[in-house]
Structures are given as C-alpha cells and as structure tokens.
Amino acid sequence: MTPAVELRDVAVSYGAVRAVDGISLQCEPGETLALLGPSGSGKTTLIYAVAGFVPLAAGEIAIGGRVVAGPGRSVPPDTRAVGMVFQNYALWPHLDALDTVAYPLRRAGLDRAEARARARDLLSRLGMEDLASRRPAELSGGQQQRVGLARALARDAAVYLLDEPTAHVDAAVRVAVQEEIGRARRASRAAAIYSSHDAAEALALADRVALLRAGRLVQLGTPADVYERPVDLWAARLTGPASVLDGDGGRVIVRPDWAELGGSTSGEVAEVWYRGTHTDYRVATPGGELVVRAPGPPTVAIGDRPGVTVRRTWPLDGAGD
C-alpha cells in the first residue's frame, strides 16, 4: 500500500538553525500520527514542510506516492493534497463560516451555489449549522477552531495536518474538538498528522506517536510503545508521569499505575493529591521517591507508612537525562 505521507531524511533550516533535522517517517492511509514535543521541538515546522510553506534543506516528502518536495523541487501548497488546521485558527476576518468552509470547494472548481450547499452540509454534519452566517469576530475560540477544522475537512486531501488544534481552547472545548476530529477522520480514509505538546491528548488520539526533541526524532511507536517502553528518561517524562528508582540492576522508571500502596517495600507517604477519579501519593522508599496512583479518595495520610508494591518497571539502560 502506498503511504499517505512519506518523509525521508527531511531537514529544514532557518538561517544557521536546523529546525528539523533528518526525520524519516511514514503515515498510512487512515492512520493518525501525533507529533509530540515541547515548544521549539520542530512540530510546526515539520507540518509546514509537509504543507509546502517551508523549503527543505535536505530530504524528500511524498504525499500519496507523489514526491512534492525534494532537492531543488517544491510543489506549491495549493496543488498538494493537504488540508490544514492552524494553531491560531487563521480564519479570514472578511468571510463568514459558510463562505470559509465553501472556500476550498470553490477552489476545487465548484460554482458558488454548489460550494455553499456542500459547505452547509458539512457544517450541519459537524453540528455547526447555526454558526453559518457568523464571522470570526462573532465566534468563540472553540467555535473558530471547529470552523477551521471544517474548512480543512472540506478539502479532498490525502493527509490532514493539524497544528496544535486544541492549544488555545479550554479543556471542555478541547474534548469536543478531539471527538470531532476523531469522528471526521474515521469517516474518511485520509491520514492525519497532529501536533501537540499534551501527552494525554496525543496518546488518546493517535495510532502512532512521534516524539520530537530539538528537531530530531527521538522515538516512534504506538501510544503503548512510547508510554510503556520509552527510549530514555526524557521520552518517559514527555509521555507521562514517571518515577525513577534505583534498583539492583540499575535505574528503572515506574509509572504511577505500575505500583500500589501496601506491601513489603517500606514507604512513607510524603504528599497526597486527591484528583477526583483517583488519588496520587508521593511515597519515600529506599530506592527513591515514588508516585503511586490509586482509585478513589485518599486512604492514607501524610506521615503514614503503608509500604508499597511495585508490580512493573522499565529499565533505563543507563540512558539518563
């Protein structure tokens, strides 16, 4: 099967700075790939490179089997099969939601009436028919982001590029937008590349996750891969909470859900955080401080010595931070 997107040794430079350096990865049709990394790690640049907004310093990008960027050649964005959601929404202030969503349809050659009819369809499928006549100034942040999403989906694309689509919306809206992205994506067979600095979001949405640090690919795998088998401490910390313990065979990491209170290893509770669905305890053990997660409200108090049981660990192999 032809990959929806293929990157081979892609590098992008801004002046002397390598923003993206030697990244190779593939994204299959129907697959969602998350780019996870802190700000400045090259996520946006990589997405811009696939869309065609930045030239490559080296390497090659193919979309749907067609090379669109490589040494000495770059296909302009409007002729690449991409749809894009921008981090700052990038909605056109002079167009209402309906004409915004109709815009890609018009560019694909539909006449105005037909494009508007299809745009209205798409908006109502996304539950936004009542927003059709509003301009960006009359939309909340979450609504703007959903209109931006509808605009991207209106284009018949091999890959949808989503640049931190939930970075500027609050938690409740974020969940709604994530649900819409998931539903819309399952309906088409297109691939999606999704950048995020939020591990929980990336793990929940993606089929595979690429961890980026300073423009380099640190690890690529399924959400379970990167969570349970991180390549180093940096990757472990990026993908979720992790405690580091000194064991007999060297240092290991322990996720909060890999340990439980009560057991033979001695441990004194140093901190308790009640989080609603569960409670986190920071416990001092001989191997180091360990965060333990247990369902329900707190069962022990600071200063108690319930002991702990570590059910599972992952070795760091001397690859420290």
């Binding site: 700052n88 560019r107 991207a152 970075a167």
Partner: protein, 524 residues
C-alpha cells in the same frame, strides 16, 4: 476643553460665520479663476493618493513579506521623507532634476515638467508616501497575517487567487483609508505647488488663498480666500470621515490567538525588490537633497558643483542679520508649540483614560486634517483684530494644528500600558502619585520625548500658516526661504533649506530609533 474650543472651535465657527456673510454679500467665488484652482486641487490630490498608496503598498510588501537584508534600515529609509518639509523637497527636486539642475549639469538631462503639474504631483506624492506605507505595513501585519494566506494556499488557492480572495479584501479598508489621508495631504499641500506650480502658472486652492491673502489687499480677494478656505476644509473633513471609518480598529482586529508559525517561514527572497526600493528612495529623496546641499555649497548659480567652487559663504549669509532673527523665531515658536502640544496632548490622554475621552480624541484628530490654509484664515478672523502680526497668533495656529501629533504619540503609548501595571504598583504599596511616578511615567517618557521632537520638527518646517500669518518682523525661516526663492536667490535659500532640513533629518532618524517599534510598526 476650553483650550480646544479656543484654539479650534472659535476660529472655525468665526470662519463659517464670515463665510456665510461673504456669500450672502454677493462676494461669491470668482468662477473663472478659482474653478481652475479647485479642479487642479482635486485632481492633484487624487493623483497623489493613487501614486502614494501604490508606492507605499509595494514597499510594504517588500519589507513585510519578503526576505530582505537590513529590513530595519529599509523601513527607516522609506519613512524618512516624512521629516523633509514639502517645500524643501520641491526646492531640492528643482535643483536635482529641473533646468540647470544637477542632472542637467552632469548629463544634460532634465525631468520634463518638474515645474508644473507633474512635478507638483510627484513631489507631494513622495512626501505623502510614508503615510501610506506605514498604514499598509500595519495592515499587512495585523489584518492580513501570513497564516491567513497560508490557509488559502492549503485550501487549494494559487498565489494569485489567494491574493485576490484573501489578501486584497483584507487590505482594502486600510488602503482606502490611506488613500483618503494621502488625498488630504495632497489637497492641503502648499509649499510644493507654491514653488513648483506657481512659476509655471499652475495654481491650486492653497496657492490661490496665499495670493489672495498675502499678496493682495482687495476686499474681493479676501472674501474669495475665506470661501476657498471653507471649501477646502469641507472637502478635507469629508475625506477624514472616510479615513476614520476605514482605519477604525486597525491593529486590533479579530486576532483571537497569538500568531503562530515560525516567523521566518517561506519568505520569498526580496533582494532584487529591496534594491529597487533603495534605488527609488535614493532617486526621490537622497539625490535631490544632495543636489540641494551642493547648490548651498557652491559660489554661484551656474557654476559646476566641484570642490574648487565650494564656499561656506552662502551659509554665512544665511546666518546673518535678519535671517538669523528668523531662525531664532522659528526655533522659539517650534519649542513653544511642542511644549504646549505635548502638555495638552498628555492632558487629553489622561482625561481619556478616565472616561468620555473618545470625543476629545476625535476632535483632536480632526484638527490635524484641517488644512493649514483654512486654519490660518480662521485664526486670522478670530484673533487677527488684536494679535495681527505677532508671534502669538502664529503660535496659536501651530498648537491648534499640531497638538493632535502630541496627543497621538502620548495616547498611543498610554493605551499600550496594561492597567494592571498601575494596579500592581498600588497592590505593592505605592500611593497613586508614587505609582504614576515610578511605573507609568517611565513607560510614557520616551513617547513624551518623541512627541515633543515630532511637533518641534513639524512646527519648524511649517510654511503654509506662517506664510499667511506673519507680519513685518515675525517671518519664520520657512517664510524667508520662500521669499528668497521667489526673489531668485537660489544659493542662500538652498543654504537655509539645508540648515532647516539636514540637522532635523539626523534628529528625525534619532526620533524614529527612540520611538522604535511604534513608528516603524515594530521590528521583527
């Protein structure tokens, strides 16, 4: 409020009253003469607007959307003509490209029509262009940020379609506003048509008013000047209304999230375009100024501007006796006007921060658009009885005209101050006075200094009102230059114009650097 009324409202009301009387008294416009002047004013204003907006927009695309080396300096080079007064530009264009000018001497070529309508339009457009540039650049940054174009490209639009469907519609209001403002600059221009138009028999409303008022004593000419002044202000105010509508909210439009995306992304190389802009700046500003300075340094008209013919005699003559007095008066008036304008501007800005300031702010903005010719006639009607031929009446006109500049600079800086800065100082234990002194004042001080320098510069370069209001012994340097030019003393007037322009030009560059981001629209 009282000051504003006394400075602006009383004169204008007085002008309207006298105008109505003159009209009813049968002193109507002399159609044959002022009809042509009105027509010339309107079409040169339109031509100036078209040229200035086209050039300013083109330059804005180069500095804002292309990868150009030395972007900051390019921006500075583009806005610098704003600190060269129009009549000096006119003088220097005549010295550079006119008959017997620099290019005529060097290669036997002169620009056809320097004296006449083409020259007037070109030189006024050069002086108006920075306004259009600043507006277009601000609009490109705040209304049509690059991500909006990228969104169009990612939606399948080619470069041209994206420009036509996204960039231009977003810029249109700003460009229309810029066109209205530069049109006002065009119809208010006096120095340029007086120097390049009048000798060629090309008259505008402003030169007509000057001739009727300063060069004629007949009652018919006076009443015509009053009516022309009213007509000019009516046209200007109509266009101010357009500009105000179009430019409302520029810079604060519907940006709901911080701009994202790598800033250095995918700019097309603009080296060729940048060179073209530099060459244009050189041809329209630098070469004429150099020609002017060379004339000022040369012993007599017609001699080649080579070192063996150089002399400082023209400057010595320029700084001698009566002319030195004119320089002193100019500096005194400019300093007084700057101090008064900034003080009033700060006062209005402070009132504005409390409440109900919008009205004052709008009124202040209007005064800047009121044509100098009109304002001078109005001030003369209102205060001429007691203050005729004094420096005070010139000062009143300067402050009325320029305090908008002081106000905008200060208010712009104060508006940029988050109120929480002041609240944080109060919450940290500072009294109201201490909070203003330690937190607000340091932030506003550069704007106060910049505003003072700007008003000082504009007042120093003011010609239109000074030429109508001065009397024996109260002429300013600009007026003396105009008179010398009309008497044909080219080297000394060139020396005076150099003195009036070059030191402030250096100063002006310093102001721009001081005010930094605000005037250049922020360095990126």
């Amino acid at each position: 409020m009282v000051a504003l009324g006394g400075l602006v409202a009383v004169p204008i009301v007085e002008l309207a009253r006298v105008g109505v009387e003159e009209w009813q008294g049968g002193g109507g416009l002399d159609r044959a003469v002022s009809g042509a002047a009105l027509f010339n004013t309107m079409w040169t204003g339109a031509a100036v607007a078209v040229l200035a907006v086209a050039a300013g927009t083109g330059a804005a695309f180069v500095t804002e959307r292309m990868a150009v080396p030395g972007r900051r300096w390019l921006r500075l080079g583009i806005v610098v003509p704003i600190v060269v007064p129009g009549f000096v530009s006119a003088l220097s264009w005549a010295r550079a490209y006119g008959p017997g000018g620099l290019t005529d001497d060097l290669v036997g070529w002169e620009l056809p029509g320097v004296f006449g309508a083409p020259g007037v339009v070109a030189v006024v457009a050069v002086n108006a262009m920075p306004i259009a540039y600043v507006i277009a650049a601000a609009a490109l940054r705040s209304r049509a940020e690059p991500d909006l174009e990228r969104a169009a490209r990612a939606a399948g639009a080619g470069r041209r379609v994206a420009a036509a469907t996204v960039t231009l519609p977003l810029l249109a209001p700003a460009l229309l506003g810029a066109a209205a403002l530069t049109f006002i600059v065009g119809i208010n221009a006096f120095g340029v048509p007086a120097i390049l138009g009048t000798p060629a028999g090309f008259g505008t409303v402003t030169t007509r008013i000057y001739q009727d008022l300063a060069r004629s004593a007949s009652p018919a000419a006076f009443s015509r000047a009053v009516l022309l002044a009213l007509l000019l202000v009516a046209i200007a105010l109509a266009f101010v209304a357009i500009a105000d509508r179009m430019l409302a909210g520029l810079g604060s439009l519907t940006r709901t999230a911080a701009p994202a995306g790598p800033q250095a992304v995918a700019r097309r190389s603009g080296i060729a375009a940048a060179i073209a802009v530099w060459l244009t700046v050189g041809a329209v500003t630098v070469v004429p100024l150099v020609a002017l300075i060379l004339v000022a340094l040369t012993r007599g008209v017609g001699l080649a501007p080579v070192p063996s013919n150089w002399t400082l005699g023209n400057f010595a003559e320029a700084l001698d006796g009566p002319l030195l007095g004119a320089l002193g008066r100019s500096l005194l008036l400019a300093a007084a006007a700057a101090t008064a304008a900034v003080a009033l501007g700060a006062l209005v800005a402070a009132l504005q921060r409390r409440r109900a300031g919008r009205l004052y702010a709008a009124a202040v903005l209007l005064t800047f658009a009121v044509p100098g010719s009109t304002l001078a006639v109005a001030v003369l009607l209102a205060y001429g009885g007691r203050l005729r031929d004094t420096l005070t009446i010139i000062l009143i006109a300067y402050v009325a005209k320029l305090w908008g500049v002081g106000h905008r600079t200060v208010a712009g800086s104060a508006a940029g101050l988050p109120p929480d800065l002041y609240r944080a100082a109060r919450a940290a234990g500072a009294s109201a006075w201490t909070a203003v002194r330690t937190v607000v004042a340091p932030q506003v001080r550069p704007a106060l200094v910049a505003g003072w320098l700007l008003v000082f510069l504009f007042a120093l370069h003011e010609l239109t009102m000074s030429s109508l209001l001065h009397g024996p012994g109260t002429g300013t340097l600009a007026v003396e230059i105009l008179d010398l030019q009309q008497l044909g003393d080219v080297p000394v007037s060139a020396a005076l114009a150099t003195l009036l322009t070059v030191p402030p030009l250096v100063l002006g560059v310093a102001v721009v650097i001081l005010a930094g981001g605000r005037l250049l629209g922020g360095a990126r």
